[in-house]
Symmetry: C2
Subunit: 581 residues, 2 copies
């Protein structure tokens, strides 16, 4: 037997026990006639002591081991003289009577400590060593707990987890599909799913009623924005429901996760329409950990001869409370911020509400004190506040101000990782105009149902049609999204038509689904949560990479195993393909 | 709201309630002034009644609906006059006051009943309709329960579920890898994992200690033998353990599944060495639901001048108890059976132990009654028994007799699907000789540890080296297998050498793993269960296809979605490949 106990479980109640432990050497040190070794495993750290007086040979062996050796020791649990009350095992140590080196270790390329000296590339190459560090391992333990709790919650509500295929069919929408040549069917390819969308809808047609799956999905696309070519979704679908049922069930899921994984009692999740989110925050995923809502100023500022405002479609601003004392330098920084290419504004106007009650703006040439009072009233400012205003095309200026608002949130410490502000965003547009292709695209996907009241607009004002689509947003990040689906062949055909599919293309790609709708399809809808993102938010991390055991880098490469890589010509020939390089 | 209750929950205690239900029309019938509709959902069937006297228009609508229409009805729960006590809802019916057709249905191409008239191909094409049938849906519900129970059991033992990558690296051992061209890395390919083997070993090096994953794996190979290109494993690994720990933990898993999913208390799982399994059953996966163990007869039958036996390496037989009365025709059938190309024997000898105590064999010319008494003694026959004997090359004749034994088990009804006989088979050979390539192959995989006592034999008698490898067998089917792994770089290199890898090849393919072994790898081992197979055995099914929601056919095709299929040249060009057809 390799161990009687783990390195995390022995304490003062175990004094006198003869035990066997195994683990890794965290560190060792010599003090007079004694050698101390901290031995680590997944469960904790236990101190070992070796005494020359007892057994000089044993101590000599102990002095040979160094960091990350795997050892197995037998000894007696004794009380420590110098206790460490910060860890559960800190009141005891093991007086070692026998030791075996199970495996020696080369010096690791970086420190296996909570704070390491290893750079990103090195830690990716030696991912198996990085995974030894507590913070990294804890992320994966958290992920495991979240998956378990998700399954427990959904199973308790009669959801059935069904595995859908990984080898599916490529679609023309799937410009970013990964494809897989078939040896048995030369010249033909499978595709890896970007989501199990059509399969979960077919399960509803089959009467499964409540489906879920924690499932890998795949997208061969630009990875810069903290994406991974393979990612995990909590994928769900329900039949005989309306939007309200979905919102209730999955608000319940998020609350259960917060309660059972983080011990946080989440308040009821507020709801906001897409239109309001855009108007008040300039974003369909507003960070509602803080207020600072947009105030539109067209009625207040236009017509006094300031051309920037007069020519703008929209003048809109935020009140940065308590920032009236911002220095010239700080204000210049903000102006630089909005002028960055990623933000794209041409300039920023401000108005201080000074502590003495006076108002002072960067456009005093055009607006006198009386006019600025109207600004102040619009923002409801108090002495000490600072108003920041942008102007331009409505769509663009909202996005720019949204960036500025988040920047101010950061500067004011309003975006605490331990505060959680979830939000439902409802009534998304069904379609969005794509400049590049000169046609409408489905904002969610082609299976999303328009709101019945808006169907008539499809022919006249397609951009105004609202969908039965919803996103859950957490702290400014979209963590999940879904919709009520179309379950009628006629409406589905109409949607494909509006999305620019010819009837033949629609039939070739999605004929099976449309045919299924003719054999008794119930009303249904669903949602999918980005599991990696959700875990990273729960862990307080900035990147999803840190909650994935073996992530790929920004080039889609796993540098540890050196993948992707070339394969030999014989293998290619068997698959009836060759490279064109 | 679409429903207040499901179709499976209303009963005599709900009399008088106003309810709303939704579901599919199972069938409808007219009787005098009444129309009866059976409405079905995942939870059950509820009878609806429509009465002309109450509402002629409503009844007229009810008469319009036919099989598989999706409807929603409102009405009152009343007591049935003619009760059906076989179903939980059989004492009540709904007196309908309002009905809505949510979706009409075309006539399905086959009956949606427990017994259907649809052939395999039709049911595969309309899989979403086949999934509506109770037996098919129940298989997937069973699968869900088994996955939930597996996770509950392993989570309770501190196992952590870790997702390993699906896009990995192709290996030369991986002649049957599916590969995935990388758009971002032109000319390079990922491979889909045949198992997460190396990743789970790296997790042990990382100190994860107890890992599991219910995970999709992939193999591009001949599918005739009830295989699927994508299949699911319960994949597990443990560190600081010995074989005994693995056997105990996973015997516990199987017992928990039997107990919690099927309500069966499984006895302790017996153990048998590979050598004994081959000697007693001619198979490394013996069906131990019945005895009929092999008896070797060389000492008994040789030397009396019967050339077939004298020239054979091994003469071996079984006692088919109670079969002495087999007719000439039945015996001829058995002879034909063993002569089939799949079995490959040249003939079969028998010996009846007649009810009157006499012995009568098919080789009476060579063996007199006294000699046959020795046969009888060897098999311990009683009056009424029938001995069946084959002779030939030891390896081959054992396999042939194994087939005959299973055939006799079938004929005698000894292989009941509701009887469960699990078995551990231990001490597999490390290597097996491959005639085709003229070298040894790893019987399990290249990471399996030889038994320490046998390492010395690697150079002299490689075929005799036993591995720390084990299979779990259930009713003659291998349901899981695993091994203690090599955790030492030197031993791993030696293994690769014996498997015919050059040092360069070994380094190129598995350098990352061997390097990991140098940074403190603990002793570890694991096991993987074939989840599809396990579910099919629990469900009493012959094929794994029936426990998979959307299986592929024998050509690896999903005929429902028409996959795999051709993709357009633009997509191929972006991936820097083209087909060679």
């Amino acid at each position: 037997m390799h161990r009687t106990h783990t390195c995390g479980e022995l304490n003062i109640n175990d004094l006198g026990k003869e035990v066997t432990l195994a683990g890794w050497v965290q560190k060792s040190r010599d003090l007079g006639g004694m050698t101390f070794v901290d031995m680590r495993d997944r469960y904790g750290i236990t101190q070992l002591t070796f005494n020359t007086d007892d057994d000089a040979a044993l101590r000599a062996t102990a002095r040979e081991v160094s960091r990350e050796f795997v050892i197995k020791v037998t000894g007696k649990v004794i009380e420590r003289t110098s206790k460490n009350l910060k860890i559960p095992t800190g009141e005891i140590e093991i007086k070692v009577s026998g030791m075996e080196i199970l495996n020696p270790a080369k010096l690791p390329p970086f420190l296996i400590e909570d704070e390491t000296d290893g750079g990103d590339d090195l830690r990716m190459k030696y991912r198996y060593l990085d995974l030894r560090r507590n913070p990294v391992r804890n992320n994966l333990v958290l992920r495991h707990k979240m998956a378990q709790e998700t399954r427990k919650y959904l199973d308790g509500l009669n959801f059935i987890e069904v595995e859908t295929p990984v080898l599916i069919k490529s679609t023309p929408e799937g410009a970013r599909d990964f494809v897989v040549p078939s040896r048995m069917n030369p010249g033909e390819f499978y595709a890896l799913p970007q989501s199990p969308q059509t399969f979960k809808q077919l399960l509803m047609v089959s009467g499964f009623d409540r489906y879920f799956q924690i499932v890998k999905c795949f997208r061969d696309e630009d990875l810069r924005a903290d994406r991974q070519p393979e990612f995990t979704q909590i994928d769900c679908e329900m039949a005989f429901i309306e939007q309200e049922d979905i919102l209730n069930v999955f608000e319940g899921l998020i609350r259960a996760l917060f309660k059972n994984v983080k011990g946080v009692d989440l308040a009821e999740v507020p709801r906001m329409t897409y239109a309001d989110a855009m108007r008040l925050y300039g974003s369909d995923k507003p960070d509602t950990r803080f207020g600072m809502q947009f105030v539109e100023l067209n009625d207040v500022v236009k017509g006094v001869g300031f051309p920037v405002f007069d020519q703008a479609e929209l003048v809109v601003g935020i009140n940065a409370e308590g920032c009236a004392e911002y220095t010239r330098k700080q204000l210049d920084e903000l102006t630089e911020f909005v002028k960055r290419p990623q933000v794209g504004a041409t300039g920023m106007i401000y108005c201080r509400h000074n502590a003495d009650g006076t108002l002072k703006s960067s456009v005093d040439k055009f607006y006198d004190e009386e006019q600025l009072r109207k600004w102040s009233a619009a923002f409801n400012t108090r002495p000490g506040d600072l108003v920041l205003v942008l102007a331009g095309k409505a769509d663009k200026v909202r996005k720019q101000l949204s960036e500025l608002r988040l920047e101010m949130g950061n500067r004011l410490g309003l975006r605490d990782k331990n505060t959680f502000a979830p939000l439902w965003v409802l009534d998304f547009p069904l379609l969005e105009w794509d400049e590049e292709s000169g046609r409408y695209h489905a904002m969610h996907h082609p299976f999303t149902s328009p709101k019945p009241d808006d169907i008539a607009l499809l022919d006249t004002n397609p951009g105004d049609v609202r969908a039965n689509a919803y996103d859950m947003v957490l702290n400014g990040t979209e963590i999940g999204g879904g919709s009520i689906r179309i379950h009628d062949r006629g409406l589905q055909s109409l949607m494909f038509k509006h999305l620019g599919f010819s009837p033949e293309e629609a039939q070739k790609q999605f004929g099976f689904l449309m045919e299924a709708f003719e054999y008794g399809a119930p009303p249904h809808g669903g949602i999918a949560f980005g599991f990696d993102r959700l875990c990273s938010l729960f862990a307080g991390l900035d990147s999803i990479r840190d909650v994935i055991a073996f992530p790929k880098n920004n080039s889609g490469k796993d540098v540890m195993i050196d993948s992707p890589s070339t394969i030999d010509d014989k293998q290619l020939a068997e698959l009836s393909i060759r490279t064109t390089l």
